[in-house]
C-alpha cells in the first residue's frame, strides 16, 4: 500500500494522507511542507520569497524514495507510507512535499514521519531554487548525502 511519486501538479493533500487507511491502523501522521513566504534569518531580518522551483534527478529520486520507505518499514512499527514531492514552479503556500505514515499506534507514525522527512532532505536528489525580490539561488543542502558519497 506504499506509494512514492513526483508531480508537477498541485498535490491534493487528502489524496495522500487518506489514500490508504489500513484496517490494523489507528493513526496517520502527515507532514505537509510548503513554500513559505516570510523566513526569519538568524540576524533577525526577514527574507521574502516570491516562489520556488524544484528540480529532481527523477529516476534516482524515485529509487531513493523507495529505499527510504523500505528502511522506515523495517525500523518502525508502521503499515503504509505515501510520499509525493512536487517539481517545477511552486507558488507560496503550495505543498513541496507530503509524507503520510499510517500505523497501528500514533507514536511510531510520528517517529517514522519525522525520520522520513529528515532522510529525504539528506538523500533524495531534489534541489530547490528560491526566487526572492532581486535575485534567485539554488539552495545547497548542508550534509553529504551519505558518509560514503562524495563531498569534494
Amino acid at each position: 500500500m506504499d506509494f512514492y511519486e513526483l508531480s508537477t501538479e498541485v498535490i491534493d493533500f487528502a489524496s495522500v494522507s487518506r489514500r490508504f487507511v489500513p484496517a490494523v491502523c489507528g493513526a496517520t501522521v502527515t507532514l505537509d511542507g510548503y513554500a513559505r513566504k516570510f523566513t526569519k534569518e538568524k540576524d533577525g531580518t526577514v527574507r521574502e520569497t516570491e516562489y520556488l522551483v524544484y528540480e529532481a534527478y527523477e529516476p534516482m529520486a524515485l529509487k531513493e524514495m523507495a529505499k527510504l520507505i523500505e528502511r522506515a518499514k523495517t525500523e518502525f512499527e508502521i503499515s503504509a507510507v505515501g510520499i509525493i514531492h512536487r517539481l517545477g514552479r511552486l507558488e507560496i503556500g503550495e505543498s513541496s512535499v507530503i509524507i503520510s505514515v499510517a500505523a497501528p499506534h500514533r507514536k511510531a507514525a510520528f517517529a517514522a514521519c519525522e525520520w522520513l522527512i529528515t532522510e529525504l532532505k539528506r538523500t533524495v536528489p531534489i534541489w530547490k531554487k528560491e526566487i526572492y525580490a532581486g535575485g534567485e539561488s539554488w539552495v545547497e543542502g548542508e550534509a553529504p548525502a551519505r558518509p560514503n558519497s562524495l563531498p569534494e
Binding site: G33, Y54, E55, A56, Y57, P59, M60, A61, K63, H85, S96, V97, I117, L120, K121, R122, T123, V124, P125, I126, W127, K128, K129, W138, V139, E140, G141, E142, A143, P144, A145, R146, N148, S149, L150, P151, E152
Partner: protein, 79 residues
C-alpha cells in the same frame, strides 16, 4: 570507452549544460571523472559536489564502465 555526465540545479547553471559525453581511459574511477569534469568546467569549483553512478551513491574509487551514467550535483535540498 565513454560515459555520460548529468548536471542538475546549481551544477547545470554552473556548466550551462544538462549533459555531456566524455571519453575515458579504461579503468577510470568516479573520482577521476569528477576531477576531469571540474577541470573542464571551472564554474563547478565553487560548489561542494556529490556524484551518483547509474543512479546510486557510490564511493569515489568505484570504477566507471563503458556506457555508465554519472550525475554531478550539489548537496540535495528537497523537502
Amino acid at each position: 570507452m565513454g560515459c555520460t555526465v548529468l548536471f542538475f540545479g546549481a551544477t547545470a547553471d554552473a556548466t550551462e549544460k544538462r549533459q555531456i559525453d566524455l571519453d575515458l581511459e579504461a579503468g577510470s574511477t568516479v573520482g577521476q571523472v569528477l576531477e576531469n569534469v571540474r577541470h573542464s568546467h571551472s564554474g563547478l569549483n565553487e560548489h561542494k559536489l556529490l556524484v551518483a553512478l547509474n543512479e546510486e551513491y557510490v564511493s569515489l574509487d568505484t570504477p566507471v564502465q563503458n556506457g555508465d551514467t554519472l550525475a554531478v550535483f550539489t548537496a540535495v535540498s528537497g523537502g
